[in-house]
């Protein structure tokens, strides 16, 4: 399974591939035996129907193939957002549960799960944020978005998580990624992103963060790698494990506070600028 099949201009190729294998699965379903001793579910059949907008139910076999394929593609070209997303979704099954359980322990996290706020350029009211004074979290956030020429709407939607609530948790995790940059001060370079993945690993234990953390540095130059492991990683591990769980933060309500206050209240020191 090479990267050629999955090109950004042809996302429907992914869908075609999946429908072909699920058609195969459907034809074998009639002949499948009743639940056997040791399987909780058949590897050839998707366990649920379509649960939410954008949901693509896949069988465990398809999931395994997709995980491996997207891992190699993402390593070859980390700018392939859809592959990074697919890798995250196929491997994070058990750990999304853990993040959701951690959110259930915190009153603010529970509020987020109950109300399910979405972050888009409309809901964030970017124009209003641009009017805020410099140094406030909201102003710095918009400045970061404008500098990188991205908007909250360019995030890949969730496709492969088989639970409505966990799909929301994954979506929220992605949407808040830009806030992490603003909060920590990490740049959007490859090593900055990897450092942020180390930070997230210390916080959440997601396997995708671990994969990026350990394999990502292979693509860096030795100088960048040195800076990563000497400066960024120690900072990331220390701050990631002691700060408040960022998934429980209702970012929308912190926009008007100064950045230093936000950092202090969440227990995060800004990362050393090199």
């Amino acid at each position: 399974m090479s990267a050629r099949i999955f090109t950004r201009t042809n996302p429907s190729a992914l869908k075609q591939c999946l429908t072909r294998t699920s058609a195969l699965a459907r034809s074998t379903r009639a002949a499948a035996p009743s639940a056997s001793l040791f399987t909780f579910r058949s590897p050839l059949e998707a366990p649920t129907g379509k649960l939410y907008e954008g949901h693509i139910p896949i069988s465990p076999l398809q999931r395994a193939i997709l995980a491996v394929g997207s891992a190699f593609t993402a390593l070859a070209n980390p700018l392939r957002g859809d592959m990074v997303a697919a890798l995250g979704e196929t491997t994070s099954g058990i750990f999304l549960n853990r993040i959701r359980d951690q959110m259930l322990q915190d009153p603010e996290g529970r509020r987020i799960l109950r109300e399910r706020p979405i972050i888009t350029s409309e809901t964030m009211q970017l124009d209003t944020l641009r009017q805020l004074p410099d140094g406030t979290f909201g102003r710095e956030y918009v400045r970061f978005l404008d500098d990188q020429q991205v908007s909250p709407d360019t995030r890949e939607p969730v496709h492969f998580v088989d639970s409505e609530e966990l799909a929301y948790v994954m979506q929220r995790y992605r949407e808040t990624h830009d806030f992490y940059h603003t909060l920590t001060g990490l740049p959007v370079t490859v090593d900055g992103e990897i450092a942020l993945k180390w930070f997230e690993m210390a916080q959440t234990g997601l396997p995708m963060t671990m994969l990026s953390s350990f394999f990502g540095p292979l693509r860096l130059s030795s100088e960048e790698r040195e800076r990563l492991f000497n400066v960024y990683v120690p900072w990331a591990l220390e701050n990631g494990s002691t700060s408040k769980l960022l998934m429980n933060v209702r970012w929308e309500e912190w926009m008007e506070k100064p950045v230093e206050d936000v950092q202090r209240e969440l227990g995060v020191r800004p990362c050393p600028q090199v």
Partner: protein, 532 residues
């Protein structure tokens, strides 16, 4: 005129007299009283002079007349073997059957993974022997002339009719039956003296010149009413901190679980259960990482709760208002451990909930129901797994925590001393076996004493007592060990362990013969031909 002899500390005639007995039973709990009944009801043992000593009021039990809408919180499950024994000693017929609930099925599941196993009494094969039981107790030949047949026949016929897995009834109810029998035996002229409201002040062996007499090595029991009893055989049925055991210098080995068991009497709404027959007669047990929570069926829309959990949570549960407690019990059988953690954390120091329990639980239930309705998991029914009935109310003053521990004595017998029941062994309540093990001990001891008498032996001699030890030690140890391992296996939410135990549980659930074997072992069923 039949003399009913209940002697208490109020008796002014009690002087410092020494009385001689054949058997002195210390402890008038269910085990001790059952032994007194068993001895009184057998031909040879009925000629023995027996004393039963109890610190609390025993005659009160006969006045047991509870309201139909109230149940005591100490409820035990009686296996078919125990019931057969109670029938043999005439206690079962004294019980009010409307206060005895049959448990026809059991659903046990893992609180972390949801893996489930279902037991149904209808599937138990009553004819073949329980292999496990044979392994642990071996073939025990009984000498001719000992009347065992009544017991075995009752056992067999009840199985052929389709015996339930167990019967649930209050401990006070069983005590009522036992005390009535005791009074009945005394009226018939059996030499059974009951010393109630009397404590044992000390136990010694004969010393000085009395050591030269034939009863020189007999145990001497001093009561706090001034009386002294000297006995051929001293039976310790005096509970987990047994003074008789200390006297015999028998070590008690084991450990305390860092768990408390909380019992309560619940009022349930049977129409809310999705099990067949509205879950009538079904016992539900869910293993949470903090400990198992079990709901045992009683009659008339009542159930008994046994929730083993951490000491702090048990104390908090006791203090919660009734409405929130009931919501939390419902959640204990359906919500994820993480959701329960949040609720435990939000019980204030005075027991008041710090958040709206009903609202939080309703929200999580609606999320769960939405997900469940959309999942097409193979092998499960369209509505999902069976649900226990909703808890409507909890009976006032029935919430009581008690510490859980496992103990086994290094020996059950010493010269002229024998231990039965909790004095000999204590077990985790998760399998409902504690009382049944005690009754099995008593049944065996009564049989052994009868045998010794008929062969002319000294019933207190340690060689006469060894058959009891051989028959009971290994099965008790096996039960204790199994229950302990189960408790430890389910006390964790560590991923690989959860996966392994869920795989094992689901596999066993599909294997009928193995489930059959487990049920028969727990029910105490044995092959009749063993006993010929």
């Amino acid at each position: 005129m039949a003399a009913i002899r209940f002697q208490s500390t109020e008796a002014t005639k009690a002087a410092a007299t020494t009385e001689e007995y054949d058997v002195v039973i210390v402890g008038g709990g269910i085990a001790g009283s059952a032994l007194a009944c068993a001895l009184a009801s057998t031909k040879a043992s009925g000629t023995l002079k027996v004393a039963l000593i109890e610190a609390f009021d025993l005659s009160n039990h006969i006045k047991f007349s509870p309201r139909p809408d109230q149940y005591s919180n100490r409820v035990s499950s009686l296996t078919p073997k125990s019931v057969a024994f109670l029938k043999k000693i005439g206690v079962w017929s004294e019980l009010d059957q409307s206060r005895v609930a049959a448990c026809e099925g059991m659903q046990v599941w893992d609180g972390v993974s949801g893996a489930r196993i279902t037991f149904d009494a209808a599937n138990v094969d009553g004819v073949q022997s329980s292999f496990l039981h044979q392994v642990f107790s071996g073939n025990i030949p009984t000498p001719p002339g000992v009347n065992n047949n009544t017991g075995q026949e009752t056992l067999d016929s009840s199985n052929k009719e389709g015996s339930p897995l167990a019967w649930m009834t209050e401990n006070l109810h069983v005590q009522y039956g036992l005390q009535k029998q005791i009074v009945g035996h005394q009226a018939r002229g059996i030499k059974l003296d009951v010393f109630e409201k009397t404590k044992v002040q000390g136990i010694t062996t004969g010393q000085g010149e009395s050591a030269q007499l034939p009863q020189g090595d007999w145990p001497v029991v001093q009561l706090d009413n001034g009386k002294t009893l000297v006995t051929r055989l001293l039976v310790g049925a005096d509970g987990v901190n047994s003074p008789v055991r200390s006297f015999a210098k028998i070590e008690s080995l084991g450990w305390d679980y860092s768990q408390f068991g909380l019992v309560a009497t619940l009022q349930i709404d049977p129409s809310t259960s999705t099990a067949p027959g509205q879950g009538k007669g079904i016992a539900w047990q869910r293993f949470l990482p903090t400990g198992p929570v079990a709901m045992l069926p009683l009659n008339n829309g009542y159930a008994s709760l046994v929730w083993s959990t951490t000491p702090k949570i048990a104390q908090d549960l006791k203090k919660l208002p009734a409405r929130d407690f009931c919501a939390l019990v419902d959640a204990a059988f359906s919500a994820s451990p993480a959701e329960l953690e949040y609720l435990y954390k939000n019980i204030g120091p005075d027991g008041q909930p710090l958040v709206d329990f009903q609202k939080e639980i309703e929200w999580r239930t609606s999320v769960r129901d939405t997900e469940a309705s959309q999942t097409m998991a193979r092998g499960s029914s369209p509505q999902g797994d069976d649900k226990p009935p909703r808890v409507v109310d909890v009976q006032e003053n029935t919430r009581a925590p008690f510490p859980l521990r496992m103990r086994n004595s290094s020996s059950y017998v010493e010269d002229r001393v024998v231990l039965v029941g909790d004095a000999a062994h204590t077990v985790h309540p998760l399998a409902g076996q504690g009382l049944n093990q005690g009754l099995a001990d008593v049944e065996c001891l009564a049989r052994v004493i009868e045998t010794s008498l008929l062969s002319g032996s000294d019933i207190g001699n340690i060689h006469s007592l060894t058959p009891y030890s051989s028959e009971r030690f290994l099965p008790n140890l096996a039960m204790l060990g199994t229950v302990d391992k189960l408790s430890k296996l389910y006390n964790t939410d560590f991923g690989p362990v959860v996966w392994a135990r869920s795989l094992g549980l689901t596999a066993v659930d599909k294997m009928g013969p193995i489930k059959n074997e487990i049920m028969r072992f727990a029910m105490g069923l044995e092959e009749p031909s063993n006993r010929s």
